[in-house]
Amino acid sequence: MEKTLEILKSLESRGIFKKYAIGGGIAATYYGEPTMAYDLDLFVFFPTGKDDLNLLTPTYNYLTGLGYSIEGDGILIEGVHVQFLPAYNPLIEEAVEESISVKFGSTNAQIFSLEYLMAIMVQTFRPKDKIRIENLLELIGQPDARLKFDSGKFSDILTRYGLRERWDDFIKGN
């Protein structure tokens, strides 16, 4: 994983993409307990913009040129299946912009902050998102848990992206 993150940093420094942030199950794992995931989901700003139909091509060409293989909907980089996803809506764009840097071994990685990760899960709202939200909420309330959550920031994100009603209904149902 450390080597994978080093490769991602090199892609960024070479301008293959502008900025990335880890989301999905691995981001949920960073904040909470380990959760099942086969993909390292990367939300990415590509230099050509999100509407370019071939926006993944330079990334794929560069990585296959280094000898990494395309596997299904992603690329196997140093043993880790990485899925590149363009930051496809304003909330995700802001989440990438506001992502935080975390240490992994001797390197670091960009990851969604907990507040944005939760807001994106409210937006996508698949059954697995609801389970992850519930699990994280339970941990957030524990005094011994190390994860820090800014409820004011989260509330602001929900309001600005029209997710308030969905969140309130979800909380009422729990």
């Binding site: 960073y30 909470g32 307990e33 099942m36 043993g79 011994d144």
Partner: protein, 66 residues
């Protein structure tokens, strides 16, 4: 006023409450692990899922080789 369940079997309530607290404490301990350790656990989960998938013929993802 106590519930009918508490009157019937207070020991069961205590046991369930202790189990709930213990499970939550375990989850907090897992959440507090370093990121690197959590990723090692994710890979172990992938291996378990892969074995189950093989046994049942279910399609699955690729176990990370890290």
């Amino acid at each position: 006023m106590t519930s009918s369940k508490e009157i019937k079997n207070p020991g069961e309530i205590d046991w369930l409450e202790r189990a709930r607290k213990s499970k939550l404490a375990h989850r907090v301990a897992l959440a507090n692990l370093p990121f690197e350790d959590k990723i090692r656990i994710v890979v172990e989960l992938q291996k378990i899922d892969n074995e189950l998938a093989k046994a049942t013929g279910r399609k699955t993802g690729q176990v990370w080789e890290i």
